[in-house]
């Protein structure tokens, strides 16, 4: 049965057919993601799921994306433009490209490696199947290749411009061997690269089915129309935001033992159906691995703005057309060679937090108070039975409160939808023991709606000379509340070794080595609160106390709710306490 909903190509695709094709594209991208996850080797991909997949049109613009990592997805565009510019005229069916360098391949940071396969239909380049995955190690100063202490990208590991990993169907063994020689755990990295190749091949197969079924002209037209549809929807929703300039300033705590605050400053100009995000006033790039290339900054701005638009909008590049990102060169958010970028994720999270902070006055019912700040990437490395090991995981924290609900506990940052690694899998595979994994009471920012609780994970080291890396934040500048809500509690990293207790800097710049038996206690920040805490219903306060999320003392101190000795609310005392508080303020 042919498909009669379609019209001739050249004119706009029927919305009915467009929806059919859009479903097909998202399915292909999801299938790619599933294959990558299932066949990957490293914990960071297979368990934490730090990777992304997408299908692009011939120009390299995303037309369908897997349910993966938002902060990756918006950067495909710049990388694809880079690749197409560089290889124009030399892109063949049967080629597969590899690349990772922020400067030579519009990459994000060296651990994120692109594997990209062009899609040809009847001899014509019609699209791309693209994957990016965070590799557990790409060499450089420290295991995991996230050195905060790097001062130049040359120290960060293997730099790959866009190269042909496969040409005309034949693998280039030289590239595989170069990668193998430059990374600490080649069996994991090569296994993960193979998983990416398998996913890209599946993507091309899926695109081919779509083109065969609907015809090349019609499908090509549909992809163009999909961008237009997303653009129309985005403009419609931007137009609903009151015009104005919305500003926000946030800070990264700073680097090393004597951290100096690093400022991020955004001005969002909403004018009609367009938005300009201008990062003028943001700190200069730093001599530490947290600088964001422009492609990454744009990606995070897009992700944050996408998330205040409706769910049903197609996730294709067209939605970014009404959005302009301006970032002065040589700053933290548009770094230039040779600025190092290994741990730039932290800056990405902060970019998203800034956009939400700026939008709060305009869209108080669409954003939450500030959260724990994103994945902190604890990394452990050393030798086990004579062989090197690197274990790295994406630990995520909690969200701030929203207008209607308390902050969620144990959820990913909006920027990267990642998972924890199972405790039992970690202990079965690495010389580590997790001694605590759970919530910490009295850590959520106070408010009519309370911030989410801080997450704590304690790692006991069971091997000699274990390297530890971590990229935390939000100690000097804990998550902010909104509309009278309080801050969440600050983050904390402590190492206990025998009787010695050492507080680690949030972003350590010198390599840390833990002795066998040492305990690394990793506490993330609590989420910010929303609204006046004295307006919080005493029943909710009581529930928090009964659930061990709030102590009785904090109930009285922070919410002016008194509990009686049976564990119920002392209404009389509560009324009095609240009245006294209000008369003071």
């Amino acid at each position: 049965m042919s498909d009669p909903t379609a019209r001739q190509s050249g004119e706009t695709t029927d919305p009915l057919l467009l929806e059919v094709i859009r479903n097909g594209l998202d399915t292909v991208a999801d299938e790619m993601a599933l294959i990558l996850m299932r066949t990957a080797y490293s914990a960071i991909i297979r368990d934490s799921m730090d990777y992304s997949t997408a299908v692009c049109d011939a120009e390299g613009e995303i037309v369908g994306q897997g349910l993966t990592t938002p902060m990756h997805l918006g950067s495909f565009h710049d990388a694809m433009r880079h690749l197409i510019r560089e290889y124009d005229g030399d892109i063949g069916d049967g080629d597969i490209f590899i690349g990772n360098d922020p400067y030579l391949a519009s990459g994000q940071h060296l651990p994120d490696i692109y594997i990209i396969k062009p899609f040809f239909h009847r001899g014509r380049l019609e699209g791309w199947a693209t994957t990016i995955a965070h590799h557990v190690d790409v060499g450089g100063l420290v295991p995991g290749s996230n050195s905060i202490g790097a001062t130049e990208i040359y120290q960060e590991g293997l730099r790959l411009p866009f190269l042909k990993l496969r040409e005309d169907g034949v693998d280039d063994p030289k590239i595989w061997r170069i990668v193998e020689a430059n990374v600490r755990v080649p069996h994991l990295v090569l296994g993960d690269l193979r998983a990416q190749v398998a996913a890209a091949e599946a993507g091309v197969r899926g695109l081919d089915e779509l083109y065969t079924r609907f015809g090349a002209d019609r499908t090509r037209q549909a992809l163009a129309d999909l961008h237009d549809l997303a653009e129309r929807m985005a403009r419609h929703h931007i137009a609903a935001i009151p015009d104005g300039v919305y500003r926000f300033t946030d800070h990264i705590d700073g680097l090393g033992d004597h951290p100096e605050p690093i400022v991020l400053n955004v001005a969002l100009t909403v004018s009609g159906d367009t938005i300009i995000a201008d990062w003028e006033g943001t700190a200069a790039q730093v001599k530490g691995g947290i600088n964001a290339p422009l492609s990454f900054t744009k990606s995070n701005v897009y992700a944050a703005l996408r998330s205040v638009m409706p769910q049903e909008m197609p996730n294709c590049h067209g939605y970014t057309r009404p959005i302009t990102v301006r970032a002065p060169e040589g700053t933290l958010v548009n770094c230039t060679l040779p600025a190092p970028c290994g741990a730039r994720g932290i800056t990405g999270y902060r970019i998203i937090d800034c956009i939400f902070g700026a939008l709060a006055p305009a869209l108080p019912d669409r954003v939450t108070a500030d959260g724990a700040g994103g994945s902190t990437l604890p990394t452990f490395a050393g030798r086990l039975d004579g062989k090197p090991f690197v274990f790295s995981e994406c630990i995520m924290g909690t969200w701030g409160a929203s207008q209607d609900e308390d902050g969620q506990d144990g959820v990913p940052h909006m920027g990267s939808n990642q998972s924890n690694a199972p405790v039992e899998m970690i202990e079965a595979g690495y010389p580590l023991r997790i001694e605590y994994y759970g919530l910490v009471p009295d850590t959520g920012g106070v408010g009519r709606r309370r911030g989410g609780l801080a997450l704590r994970r304690d790692y006991r080291v069971l091997t000699d000379d274990c390297f530890l890396g971590v990229r935390s934040d939000k100690r000097a500048f804990p998550p902010h509340g909104l509309f009278g809500g309080g801050e969440g509690t600050p983050s904390m990293n402590v190492v206990e070794d025998g009787n010695q207790r050492t507080v680690l800097p949030v972003l350590p710049t010198v390599p840390l080595t833990l002795r066998r038996g040492a305990l690394f206690s990793h506490v993330m920040a609590g989420g910010g609160g929303f609204g006046n805490p004295l307006e919080r219903e005493p029943e909710r306060v009581l529930d928090d106390v009964l659930d061990g999320r709030l102590s009785r003392e904090a109930a009285l101190r922070d919410y002016a709710v008194a509990l009686d000795c049976e564990g119920g609310i002392d209404r009389e005392a509560t009324r009095a306490a609240r009245a006294a508080r209000e008369s003071v303020s």
Binding site: M1, V20, Y41, A43, P314, V411, S419, N420, E435
Partner: protein, 702 residues
């Protein structure tokens, strides 16, 4: 069915009952395989009442004495509903010290991108009822800290004071050494008589603490409601004189005795969909198709599943309330993790009642919002105003414009057309039939996602399968969906409206046990492996409680390439665990890996054993089913129906019997509980099992 099936029968009758949201379906099978069916309204306040009523009616109608029923088979959503509606038991959880939040933290990831206001499902056990005990095992089963038994006493007191009905115990690494869990279970059972206490090692002795905890908690949470329901049902059946043993469908496709269900109710959470797949496997095999895709199109969802070489596929990545779709496989967290084998049924929120909406930017959506049973589609005239997929089917002439369901549901053709025109056709500048046809194409594309999720996403090509469709909307969508996936054959079985109940009759009594067994494939100690399998087999035989020669035992091994996080299960043949066996297992695993993911690794790469499984099945002969449709001798009739590029065609209305001689489409096959569309270019015929076979026409007959 006009003559009661008891008339010529001697021997044992079997009764099968499946409870759905609206109807409870009952099928009675005579010893010679003849079937009788009925539908009665479900009774949500006490589902047992509807079941008993349905049984009583069919036995009376078919003149069968209750004592002649030898076996009663049952599928029910009682466990699922308890979870979805939050009406399970007040449940406590006891964990290793430092880990009581594992249940609530889940795997962190959420099923939605770009959604800052997302709310995750609340934990089935609130934090105040999650208790910690000092104890600790290591990953190899070594005791790192002894169990503090005295700590269990104050915990038991608190559990008692809180009115808790069920307790789940899950300690870290208990799959490697269950001693602490078992001891804690003994102590708690002694301190809390009458309470349901369940241990993770009895429910799921496998690695990964969140999934094991969640599964154990589900087992505790649904046990009291399931027990109450089954007790009430048993008593009611006894009162009717139906004293036959009662078996329940498990999510994995086998059936279980009542005793086991009471101990491990988590096994029956998805019993209804599983029964339909078993039925599809039976019908397909009998019709000569070893490879079929079962498609169940209902009012709010469509579910797809695969039967391959006569076997159905299972998954253990299910989430109750999260569905099993392609996306939920990828991004979990939308429901409650249940890591037990479930027939791999992929579900999408697209069915007859799915609402069709067009927004201001010109974006059209079909579902997942549904008009539900009330108000239902506009065409049903029960107050629905928004167009649904059913209304599009009515507007195109596919559904009878006067009444459906044996005349019991009147159809408002004008209302259906008007709703499609005002909501879709007019804003798009299209005719009502063009718009309706487009809606159908979108619905089919969404349903195709569920089919792809169990085929292409698992390395299977849908074109190698026949599509077996059932449920209220199966026949309406089957051919269009098949065409969009390049599938060339469609099967519409008889009794399509009570198909899950039918499938129960062909399920087998089955019990499975598993055991975590982490070891390199090439270095696993043969004696240890054989011993672990022997323990599992003895447990399965003991459980089934029948002579060993009536039971088929199957060994399976979950393998992965060392370093991967996901395993694939392969059958392990009988024989010594020698080099040849290891090579055979590696080869079988490689083949499955290549098929599923497109590549495999050379033999030099180490492979790991993760879990051992033993499945015991009771061997039983089942008679071939026989359900002759009732000839109605209606007047020959036609009505116009719309077929896209072919436009409106005068289309013959036939009944199943008329297809004894193959007929070329366009045709509409109308039956009391289903309508089947045969578009131009397809030909329908009948096989000797009374299945409608629809094939792409090779040459249009003159």
């Amino acid at each position: 069915m006009s003559t009661p099936i008891a008339s010529s029968a001697t021997g044992a009758f079997r009764l099968a009952v499946d409870i759905g949201g609206t109807f409870t379906d009952v099928v009675l099978m005579a010893p010679d395989g003849r079937l009788a069916t009925t539908k009665v309204p479900s009774t949500p306040d006490d589902y047992a009442r509807g079941v008993i009523e349905g049984c009583r009616q069919i036995l009376l109608r078919e003149n069968v004495a209750p004592s002649e029923v030898a076996e009663m088979l049952h599928a029910s959503t009682v466990a699922t509903n308890a979870i979805l509606e939050g009406k399970g038991a007040r449940t406590a959880l006891v964990t290793t010290e430092g880990f009581r939040d594992v249940l609530e933290l889940r795997r962190i990831r959420v099923p939605r991108l770009y959604e800052p206001l997302y709310r995750k499902p609340p934990p089935l056990v609130p934090r105040r009822h999650r208790f910690e005990v000092a104890e600790r095992m290591g990953p190899r089963g070594e005791v790192l800290r002894p169990l503090d038994e005295t700590a269990l006493q104050p915990i038991a007191r608190q559990i008692d004071a809180a009115g808790i009905e069920a307790v789940a115990v899950c300690f870290l690494h208990s799959y490697a050494n269950p001693d602490h869990e078992r001891r804690a279970g003994e102590v708690l059972r002694a301190l809390l008589p009458g309470r349901f206490v369940t241990l993770s090692v009895d429910v799921l002795p496998e690695i990964r603490e969140y999934e094991r905890t969640s599964t154990t908690v589900i087992n505790a949470y649904v046990a009291p409601p399931v027990s109450r329901y089954l007790t009430s049902l048993r008593a009611g059946l006894d009162r009717e004189g139906i004293t036959a043993p009662l078996f329940m469908m498990q999510s994995s496709g086998g059936i279980l005795d009542l005793e086991t269900v009471l101990q491990r109710p988590a096994l029956v959470v998805e019993s209804g969909p599983a029964a339909g797949v078993i039925g599809a496997g039976y019908v397909g095999r009998r019709a000569g198709f070893e490879n079929v895709i079962a498609l169940d199109v209902g009012g709010t969802t469509a579910k797809a599943s695969v039967v391959e070489r006569g076997r159905y596929l299972t998954t253990d990545e299910y989430e109750v309330g999260g569905g099993i779709s392609l996306s939920s496989r990828l991004v979990k967290g939308g429901g409650y993790a249940l890591r037990l084998p479930v027939i791999d049924v992929s579900e999408v929120g697209t069915g007859g009642g799915s609402l069709v909406r067009l927004n201001a930017a010109g974006n059209i959506s079909v579902g997942p919002q549904s008009a539900g049973a009330m108000p239902g589609p506009v065409a049903y005239g029960r107050g629905g105003v928004e167009p649904t997929v059913t209304d599009a089917n009515v507007a195109m002439g596919y559904l009878n414009p006067v009444a459906i369901a044996d005349g019991t549901v009147a159809i408002d053709l004008a209302g259906a057309r008007a709703s499609v025109i005002s909501e879709v056709a007019a804003p798009l500048g299209r005719t009502v039939e063009e718009a309706s046809y487009g809606v159908l194409a979108i619905a089919n594309a969404l349903m195709a996602r569920s089919v792809r999720s169990v085929t292409t996403s698992r390395g299977r090509d849908p074109r190698d399968f026949a599509l077996l469709a059932f449920g209220g909307g199966g026949g309406l969508h089957a051919v269009g969906l098949a065409a969009s996936l390049g599938m060339r054959r469609v099967i519409i079985p008889p009794a399509a409206g009570v198909f899950s109940a039918f499938g129960l009759l062909y399920s087998e009594i089955e019990f499975a046990q598993s055991q975590g067994f982490l070891a390199p494939l090439d270095a696993a100690e043969p004696a240890a492996l054989e011993n672990a399998f022997a323990v599992l087999e003895a447990g399965v035989l003991h459980h089934l409680g029948r002579p060993a020669d009536t039971i088929r035992l199957r060994r399976r091994v979950d393998l992965r390439y060392a370093g991967q996080a996901f395993e694939l299960a392969v059958d392990m043949p009988k024989g010594a665990f020698d080099a040849a066996m290891r090579d055979a297992l590696a080869a079988a695993f490689d083949e499955e890996h290549a098929r599923t993911y497109g590549h495999s690794l050379p033999r030099a790469n180490p492979r790991e054993i993760v879990t051992l499984r033993v499945i015991g099945t009771v061997i039983a002969e089942r008679p071939a089913s026989h359900l002759a449709p009732r000839p109605e001798q209606r007047e020959a009739a036609t009505r116009p129906a719309y077929f896209g590029e072919d436009g409106w065609l005068d289309t013959r209305i036939v009944e199943r019997h008329d297809l004894a001689t193959p007929l070329a489409g366009p045709l509409i096959v109308e039956e009391p509980d289903a309508t089947t569309i045969v578009p131009p270019g397809w030909t329908a015929s009948l096989d000797d099992g009374f299945n409608i076979l629809i094939d792409q026409t090779v040459e249009v007959p003159a």
